[in-house]
Amino acid sequence: MQNKYTTPIKPTFCPGCGNFGIMQAMKDAFAQLNLPSEKIVISYDVGCNANMADFINTYGFHGLHGRSVPPAVGVKLANHKLTCLALIGDGGFYGEGAQHFLSLMRGNHDITVLVHDNQRYSLTTGQMSPTTPKGTITVSTPEGAIEEPINPLAVSLVNHCTFAARGFAGDVVHLQDLIVKGIEHKGFSLIEILQPCVIWNKERSYEWYRERVYKLENEGYAADNRQEALTKAQQQDKLAIGVFYKEEKKAYHQEVSSLDNGPLVEQAINRIDIGKLLEEFK
């Protein structure tokens, strides 16, 4: 099963990169769901995470920086039978493409967004990102970052996200389970992934995360209350992983009446009659 989702290209991630664990979790999730390669579309950002485009064997759309979510939405609206995922980083989704983060989440488009959050712009050699803590010294902030970091899960929870989760690149099995749940969820699934960057974010190593993460499911957490989820999302000393909040709601494509009769791509265009439309111009 494993090879089905693997291309002949050898991964170019740095040794120890969190992307290895995330990629493994993705492939394992696809295998667990028994999804054929050709039924999956992954839209990729520009960044280290997005270089996965060359290594994962499914239909792929390797687009522009900060823009991986709109094409995934476009694919889903054109053919809602497909499983659509978008990969993006903290810089791409909470910075360059933050308008898509705020807008498309509200539409509850049925896509699963995996955010590789390493608190750095790593491909461009380690500048601060929207999730970098205040005071952090980076190459673009030699005197320390002045901005406060964004709290993506907290924002999502007050922004009508219907599936908000956090995973850890160092716990592949747990992350695989989250991705499976995200894909199964019919609506916008945000999976924030804590990802160590061994080159540009040495303060937050695997060990740093392991000392702080704990699993929500081990605490009998129900994931059905936005307020409770918000409290968990704002926790500073410890970092919860698991599903923070989940809600059943119609996905965007289910509310578009022209899609009631099946995917757009299956609607015939070989013979189109506009006779009725012309009447009103007479």
Binding site: N51, I272, L277
Partner: protein
């Protein structure tokens, strides 16, 4: 006997000038006349001066004209602002109660003023006397116009029915009554001013529509299934029209959060196999520029309508300009094939939009339809187009072999594509330079191969485009030649008619495909001319620059306009007379 009549309605924004103007025009359409309707308005919701001008004719008519035969003035500014457009015998209709004239000397009813004859009609009083609301005064005015142009009121009644039937029969009858009272008032008081307009005889089925409506219909006919957009004048009405028909026509119409999302979403849908379009103006197109290049390297079809307006920057949002030619030609980093179409009239808007989908899908590239405010919003009467369109899907692989070579090299530069969901067709659509499978590459050989493949595709497109004959307007053998593009076609056609009447022969090559640049056709046209002038609505003669760049021919004579208004045929005639 007159065979054309030019009517202008002037009033303040929010007074319903546009809807009353359209009703006027439609009444003449129902009586088998042709009309060309042109509107001016500021970028405001209320206040400011609005006009609607209907140039009505027995035969097809393609532009507005300067001199007005009948002016209906609903505010006092109108009397001042349009003074220069009046002739001695123009009729000026206004309600003395609302239009308090602040002229130096009081206007004398019925007696010729310096400009036009003033016909005071108590429009509001007529509306209330007929049992209607004061807001229906406009219809009393239309009723009066029906009488003054010798039209049967039944045509206006038909239009009222079409317009108000949704609001109930009572509403229809009330409006008809107000119109009838207006008609009768004019008949009683101003019967000697009745214009002798020849009866229309061309009974061929016609429609009256804007450039944007024609683009929308062309897109639906061309198999467009996905439309995403962000509102921006003058492209917004395409979004409104398509959204209103989405359910009935089986379209997905998405108003997205910004133009960046718009084009990225559309390209996602295109990748998934449906025909996609978006429309915007220069500002929105600027935001789309990065993804335009992505369509180029991913080799994905998309049709983008760029409706130009006066720039730079926010400029004059509701006014006309052709300043974006160079912008759409060169937008986005790097080099990639694109196609630029610039329809010259409403008919071309329909047919060329339909064709744009063919070109985009066959050659897997962005096709830009470059239009403008004048074209987008003006209405023209055209003969009813064919209602049925046949569309064939192009450049798809039906039996892919895995691993699929999406960007396989080919003689014509076109590589077949698969769509997600298709077995054995899995590939990566890549904004990075890529190999045959779509995987990123920086190798010299593959880079060169891909650049050259894309260029070759453009050469194939160019060959096909050059086979489409560009129409020469007017007398092709005339020594005087005009080169122009896009919506200038209308005023030029009307100017050629006037010149012909004066015994001056001239012709025009109005380009409706600008890129790939039709060098041979331009050279062939120019080589036979003794005298050539370039006509454009911009200040730097961008088309003339392109012609010089690609043919070496410099066109020194130019008629350029950049004040936000389209050309009037009279201006073109005057310029040519000066030079002749």
């Amino acid at each position: 006997m007159k065979n054309t009549i030019n009517i202008k309605i002037a009033g303040s924004a929010g007074e319903g000038i546009k809807s009353v103007g359209l009703m006027l025009s439609k009444s003449f359409l129902k009586a088998s006349y042709f009309t060309f309707d042109y509107m001016e308005y500021p970028s405001l919701i209320r206040g400011g001066h609005n006009t609607y001008q209907a140039n009505i004719s027995l035969s097809p008519i393609w532009s507005q004209a300067k001199k007005i035969d009948i002016l209906i003035c609903l505010n006092k500014q109108g009397l001042k602002l349009h003074k220069d457009e009046l002739k001695k015998d123009s009729l000026v209709i206004f309600d003395p109660e609302t239009v308090l004239v602040e002229a130096e000397k009081p206007l004398e009813e019925k007696k010729p003023a310096n400009n036009g004859l003033n016909l005071t009609i108590p429009l509001k009083k007529i509306a209330t006397d007929a049992g209607g609301l004061p807001i229906m005064a406009n219809l009393a005015g239309l009723g009066a116009v029906m009488f003054l142009t010798g039209m049967d009121i039944k045509y206006l009644f038909l239009v009222i029915e079409q317009n108000f039937s949704k609001k109930g029969q009572e509403m229809v009858e009330q409006n008809q009554k107000v119109a009838a009272f207006g008609f009768e008032f004019a008949e009683r008081k101003y019967s000697e001013y009745k214009v002798d307009l020849q009866e229309a005889s061309n009974k061929q089925e016609k429609i009256l529509l804007t450039g944007n409506e024609a683009i929308s219909l062309g897109a639906i006919a061309g198999g467009m299934k996905f439309y995403s957009a962000y509102p921006m004048t003058p492209a917004t009405s395409i979004l409104h029209y398509l959204a209103s028909k989405a359910k009935e026509q089986g379209l997905v119409v998405k108003h997205a959060e910004d133009e960046i999302s718009v084009i990225n979403m559309a390209l996602g849908a295109s990748f998934a196999g449906v025909r996609v379009m978006t429309a915007t103006s220069g500002g929105g197109f600027a935001l789309m520029s990065e993804a335009l290049g992505m369509a180029g390297i991913m080799e994905l079809p998309i049709v983008i309508v760029e409706g130009m307006r006066s720039g730079p920057s926010s400029g004059m949002p509701t006014w006309h300009d052709q300043g974006d030619l160079n912008f759409v030609l060169y937008a986005s980093q790097g080099e990639f094939p694109r196609m630029i179409i610039s329809p010259g009239d409403v008919e071309e808007n329909f047919y060329l939009t339909k064709q744009a989908f063919y070109f985009a899908e066959k050659y897997q590239l962005p096709v830009i339809i470059l239009t403008d405010k004048y074209m987008a919003e003006s209405l023209t009467t055209i003969k009813l187009p064919e209602s049925v369109s046949e569309n064939e899907k192009r450049s798809f692989s039906h039996e892919p072999v895995s691993p699929f070579e999406r960007y396989k090299d080919s003689e014509n530069g076109i590589s077949l594509r698969t769509i997600p969901g298709q077995d054995k067709g899995v590939y990566l659509s890549n904004s990075y330079e890529h190999d045959l499978f779509g995987f990123a590459t920086e190798e010299i050989e593959m880079r060169n191969l891909m650049v050259e493949k894309r260029l070759r595709k453009f050469e194939t497109l160019k060959k096909e485009v050059c086979q489409i004959k560009q129409h020469v307007l007017g007398d092709p053998d005339a020594e005087i030649g005009i080169v122009s593009w896009g919506s200038n076609k209308g005023p030029i056609v009307e100017a050629l008619k006037i010149l012909e009447g004066k015994g001056t022969k001239a012709s025009c090559l109005n380009l409706n495909v600008i890129w790939p640049f039709p060098e041979k056709q331009v050279v062939d046209y120019l080589s036979g001319k003794k005298f050539v002038i370039d006509i454009e609505c911009n200040s730097t003669a961008q088309l003339a620059g392109l012609i010089r760049q690609h043919t070496g021919i410099e066109i020194k004579e130019r008629l350029l306009k950049y004040d936000g208004r389209p050309f009037y045929p009279e201006e073109i005639v005057t310029k040519l007379a000066e030079l002749n």
